[in-house]
């Protein structure tokens, strides 16, 4: 499984959405991605990629796309 597939799968499982829906998703677009769901997403991503996000990155993480940018940073080194 590529990193992108893994990343997308976390969204699918956390928010019960399809891969296609996940790709355009933004924070608070759907009920499941509220502040509680956000912390669930963070811990699921952390487990999947064995990383730990900084508080600032958790706060900035406000869309599927933005999340990819954050994970690709040197601190986490996830290549997409």
């Amino acid at each position: 499984m590529t990193n992108l597939e893994k990343y997308t799968k976390v969204f699918e499982e956390t928010f019960s959405v399809s891969a296609k829906e996940a790709q355009s998703l933004k924070y608070q677009d759907i009920e499941a991605w509220d502040s509680v769901g956000h912390m669930g997403l963070v811990s699921a991503l952390e487990d999947a990629f064995d990383i730990m996000l900084d508080t600032d990155d958790i706060i900035d993480f406000n869309s599927f796309e933005k999340g990819k940018e954050i994970l690709a940073k040197a601190d986490y080194g996830v290549e997409f």
Binding site: Q28, S35, M39, D54, T55, D56, I58
Partner: protein
């Protein structure tokens, strides 16, 4: 200055003059915004012939009593833009405040809170023990103040456990296992004052007598929600600190003052026991007779201002708490801004606060 720019200023870095300029500019803008977008608010300003052109300082801006959010649906955005409604903690039968948040306000609350708390804990995340039950955050559409507090602080937690089950019983095995894994790291503990005392401290004490001990000397505890019940049980701040240290070695303890009507702008207690106002908010103490500003050290009713609220007119509020300003810009901890203490609730005020409303169910 926009809030985006403001949030990049370190929270305790401005002296009184700089902060007054910043807050006056921002709060005057917010007053205009709410006057334009919230008809009820505009009518209230009209009723007192308020003229914004005459305002020289944010201290002259009108304040609404916090109670008003229980009686009126006050918002400055259309209903479609409301992403979250937060409610105050209230005892059974009490009316609760309803605070309407749009995306911007909700996100600024979380960002601000992270800036403030990081100044005390550092920005790295820690294993976290939440001294409450998981049931608190179940209802996601209607957020209680208790759930919002837990969730807000959760950003600082890496691995988390709830120390209590839904019957408010200590999860002894869970806690043991957690400390076995993470006990050598710095651990964040968060909870509400009375719950910590009633369901955590007392249980740890009972277990200690049976020879079961927990070492939390690596812990940093942040707690809030009011002291009323503990004061009535004659537990002072000093005793709270001493007893927790005795029972589990916990030494780093910070109280905070805050309310759901101004979520995000919390007032953290430093190691000298002073509550601190950041650059994002301020407290003004007012004399009960004529609402003039009280002097340093003189007890007064607490008015709070916050630079955050854009979706509801809650940027300047008169609380039902009494307190006193202790100093400005010169706390030995090095943080600039006002520092103060809370004496308690005004007489005849309702019981509120996450800790106190919960505690109201217990006999003294």
């Amino acid at each position: 200055m926009t809030y985006e720019e403001m949030i990049n200023i370190p929270p305790y870095s401005l002296d009184a003059d700089e902060k007054e300029k910043l807050l006056t500019d921002r709060l005057t803008k917010l007053t205009k915004l709410h006057q334009k977008n919230c008809p009820e608010y505009a009518r209230m300003l009209g009723a007192v012939n308020f003229n914004i052109e005459k305002i020289k300082s944010y201290k002259e801006l009108p304040f609404l009593p916090v109670r008003l959010f229980k009686e009126l649906e006050l918002k400055s955005v259309v209903s479609e833009d409301v992403v979250k409604t937060m409610t105050s903690s209230g005892t059974t039968g009490q009316a609760v405040s309803r605070i309407y948040l749009d995306r911007t306000t909700s996100s600024n609350q979380q960002k601000t809170m992270v800036k403030i708390v990081s100044d005390f804990t550092g920005s790295s995340r820690m294993p976290m023990i939440i001294i409450d039950c998981p049931g608190v955050i179940k209802n996601r559409a209607m957020f209680s103040a208790r759930g919002a507090g837990i969730l807000g602080f959760s950003v600082f937690g890496a691995k988390k456990i709830y120390a209590l089950d839904d019957d408010m019983k200590l999860d002894v095995d869970g806690l043991k296992e957690f400390l076995k894994k993470y006990g050598d790291q710095r651990i964040l503990l968060f909870g509400f004052t009375f719950m910590i005392w009633q369901h955590f401290y007392k249980e740890l004490l009972r277990l200690k007598e049976k020879g079961i001990t927990f070492d939390l000397s690596n812990g940093i505890l942040i707690h809030g929600g009011g002291w009323k019940k503990l004061v009535s049980q004659a537990v002072s701040r000093e005793e709270f600190h001493e007893r927790l240290k005795d029972v589990c070695g916990l030494e780093h303890i910070h109280d905070y003052y805050g309310m759901v009507e101004q979520t995000g702008c919390i007032y953290m207690e430093c190691q000298y026991g002073h509550l601190h106002a950041s650059i994002f908010s301020d407290v003004i103490t007012r004399r009960p007779g004529d609402f003039t500003e009280a002097c340093m050290g003189e007890p007064g009713i607490i008015q709070v201002v916050s630079a955050i609220p854009e979706s509801y007119p809650g940027h300047s509020l008169l609380t039902e708490d009494e307190g006193a300003v202790l100093g400005v810009d010169d706390c030995p901890c090095g943080r600039k801004g006002k520092y103060f203490k809370i004496n308690g609730r005004l007489r005849n005020a309702e019981i509120r606060g996450c800790s106190d409303t919960y505690a109201d169910k217990f006999e003294a």
